[in-house]
């Protein structure tokens, strides 16, 4: 658990952190979102001491981070930034091996770890000898994630890690990261300015504005607790549509039916947003999905009921 208490940081007249407190629970991905200049990157960097706050205290697993020398602290925390920052003169495997080597792991263990991570992120092992300039943007980003995970840190700090990737690749890598996080259960603080990304990846979302946290809640109930003009403006009127992306047809309570040839079929892993789009253009045609060899009818009412349950229920 990362606990930040009463963090304050000013740059001249600008207040980046304004008496801010926050807890990141073990094994959750907390997404910190806000307009640029709201102080979210500053907050993230106080945790691995790239930025020293004017006031406030941070503990990781109840231990104050100032008990460690900055370098020792940083080696225990995975760090992944926009533009990746892979070392261009080192091969992919040497890039991943940086922190394990700093921690003086023995070489066979490092090599095994590199193979494990490449497989985990879906990169072929033949990439080990490649140089960063030979990778595509998405591949480089995956290697960046590998590098951050190399020494198996419990805590992961990610500063707009997928911000520089083109939209198509970004969605792929976001989904891949979500899969990874579901398996590894790291304690992640993830900074972004992309609401879609926050909704897709966050277990909880902290909305930050002018050095303060305006709201902290699950993506489903963001904007629900207290009516706030800034929050509403930020999440937008179509927010309900956006959170449909978080659920799939498998999450719905559906009615079983007999499939017919003229039915329109949907994959059971389709997001509710996709399902809704198909329903909107289906007209009179019946839309079904098959889960465990049983066909179910997909209806707008089911989606609405689900949305009501997760958002307002």
């Amino acid at each position: 658990m990362i606990k930040l208490s009463h963090m304050t940081k000013t740059y001249g007249a600008i207040t980046a952190l304004d008496d801010l407190s926050l807890e990141v629970r073990n094994g959750e991905c907390l997404v910190l979102i806000g307009p640029s200049g709201c102080g979210k990157s500053t907050l993230l960097k106080t945790i691995n001491r790239l930025v020293e706050p004017d006031a406030g205290e941070i503990t990781i697993h109840q231990k104050p981070i100032h008990d460690y020398a900055p370098e020792v602290l940083r080696r225990q925390i995975g760090y992944c930034i926009q533009g990746v920052g892979l070392f261009p003169h080192l091969s992919v495997s040497d890039n991943i091996a940086v922190v394990p080597r700093l921690l003086k792991w023995d070489e066979p263990k490092i090599q095994a770890r590199i193979d494990e991570l490449l497989t985990l992120t879906g990169l072929p092992l033949s990439y080990k000898t490649k140089r960063p300039h030979q990778l595509s943007g998405g591949e480089a980003q995956r290697v960046g994630v590998c590098r951050a995970l190399a020494a198996d840190p419990e805590v992961l700090l990610m500063d707009e890690p997928f911000g520089a990737v083109d939209p198509m690749t970004r969605e792929q890598i976001q989904l891949a990261f979500r899969e990874l996080q579901r398996r590894l259960k790291k304690t992640v603080l993830f900074v972004t300015h992309d609401l879609e990304e926050a909704i897709l990846l966050g277990d909880r979302i902290a909305l930050m504005h002018r050095g303060k946290i305006l709201e902290l809640s699950t993506p489903e109930s963001l904007g629900q607790s207290t009516p706030n003009e800034t929050v509403n403006q930020f999440i937008g009127a179509d927010y309900a549509l956006r959170i449909l992306r978080r659920s799939t047809l498998e999450d719905l309570k559906l009615t079983a039916v007999q499939p017919q040839t003229e039915d329109r079929r949907l994959e059971s892993t389709s997001s509710l947003k996709e399902a809704l789009a198909v329903l909107l253009e289906s007209g009179n045609q019946r839309v079904i999905t098959v889960i465990d060899h049983q066909a179910y009818r997909v209806d707008v009412g089911d989606i609405m009921a689900h949305l009501q349950a997760v958002r307002y229920g």
Binding site: N48, P70, E71, I81, G85, F87, H89
Partner: protein
């Protein structure tokens, strides 16, 4: 390809002009007598000149039009031999009706020879991979001189007269240029790094270093001589070490100061162009500042730093000529001696080796740089 065509056209023009208009040699009965110009037609007759220009024209035309690279290869190798053959011909030429003593008489290379050599260089460099051809075009005349095949050529005569001086100054020149360059490397890199690390100091450092560069070399030499001679007067032991207002010491100091500028400026630029994301992730992963410098910044900055060192050395080879003015020796001593005696061959004897040394230095560094870059980018692409 267009620049290749342009070179060939230019080569044709130069060849035409130098073959017909300019003397290829200047025959002198002795060192100070008025030269007798020797046009190419004296060597091979008017018909010969027309033939040479015709053959040369056809050769250049063939190079310009895309034909088999096999024929082109033969043509450029042939062209590379031309200067050597011409100089050999000049050495054996005896003008008609002139009384002379073969001990004192000499044949200075004329503007025509320079022109023909220029035409050959233009033609050679219009083709890819011309390095070895250039080496041959320079090497053949030198080889002939070493083998004693062209004893009448003025520059060879001067070499025979000044052999021991030449060899001593050669060593001197090389020592001066290289040692002052080597001495400048470490402080240069450190100052560049300092300027990058502490932005407030960068303007100061760069402008001081720039000052050395802007100040004319000669006046810098003069400025250095004053404190040095005062020092050696105050502390006689310095004089016994060879440090005084004239000689090796002031030349060495000035050359070192000169070598600093390109090294500092390049090191500064090299560190400055490092990707901030790379540096931030290095720090964020827990590398100490020393580890970042050793494992990340220095390797990534090294190609640009090296190109600064390359500039410093090439420039030092040339600048070391000025040491001759303050008794520091080197080829400058020969050049200025030649100037004072109006002995153009002696001047040439001093300048040619400097040009060749600069070219060799340049190509050596080019190779090291290419290797370094390959290493940084990875073996395969």
């Amino acid at each position: 390809m267009t620049s290749g065509r342009l070179r060939l056209r230019l080569a044709g023009l130069v060849l035409l002009g130098s073959s017909f208009g300019l003397p290829v040699g200047d025959f002198k009965i002795n060192r100070i007598m008025r030269p007798i110009p020797v046009p190419l037609s004296d060597l091979i007759g008017t018909f010969g000149v027309i033939l040479v220009v015709f053959i040369g024209g056809v050769a250049l035309w063939t190079l310009a039009k895309s034909m088999s690279s096999f024929i082109k290869r033969w043509i450029v190798w042939g062209l590379a031999l031309v200067p050597g053959v011409l100089i050999f011909g000049l050495s054996t030429f005896i003008p008609a009706g002139v009384e002379f003593n073969p001990e004192a008489a000499r044949m200075a290379l004329g503007a025509g020879t320079a022109g023909i050599y220029l035409a050959v260089l233009l033609a050679i460099t219009s083709q890819p991979s011309s390095r070895w051809l250039i080496v041959v075009s320079i090497g053949l005349p030198i080889g002939l001189a070493v083998l004693g095949q062209i004893p009448m050529i003025g520059i060879v005569k001067e070499y025979q007269n000044y052999k021991s001086t030449f060899n001593a100054e050669f060593i001197r020149h090389l020592t001066l240029a290289l040692s002052s360059g080597v001495i400048a490397i470490l402080p240069g890199i450190l100052m560049g790094y300092w300027a990058y690390k502490y932005p407030k100091s960068s303007e100061g450092i760069l402008s001081v270093v720039n000052l050395f560069q802007v100040a004319p070399t000669l006046s810098l030499l003069g400025l250095i001589m004053i404190p040095l001679s005062l020092l050696s007067k105050q502390f006689p032991f310095l004089k016994s070490l060879g440090i005084s207002g004239i000689g090796f010491a002031p030349a060495f100091i000035v050359l070192t100061l000169y070598a600093l500028m390109p090294i500092v400026a390049n090191a500064y630029a090299a560190f400055k162009q490092l990707d901030p994301a790379v540096l931030e992730s290095a720090k964020g992963m827990g590398l100490t500042s020393r580890q970042i410098l050793r494992q990340v910044s220095l390797p990534l900055a090294s190609p640009i730093i090296l190109s600064g060192i390359r500039t410093a050395f090439t420039q030092n080879i040339g600048n070391a000529i000025l040491a001759g003015l303050v008794g520091g020796g080197g080829f400058g001593a020969i050049i200025f001696l030649g100037l004072s005696q109006s002995a153009s061959d002696l001047v040439l004897l001093g300048t040619l080796p400097v040009v060749i040394m600069a070219l060799i230095t340049e190509s050596l560094f080019e190779r090291i740089q290419a290797r370094l870059e390959r290493q940084l980018r990875g073996a395969h692409d």
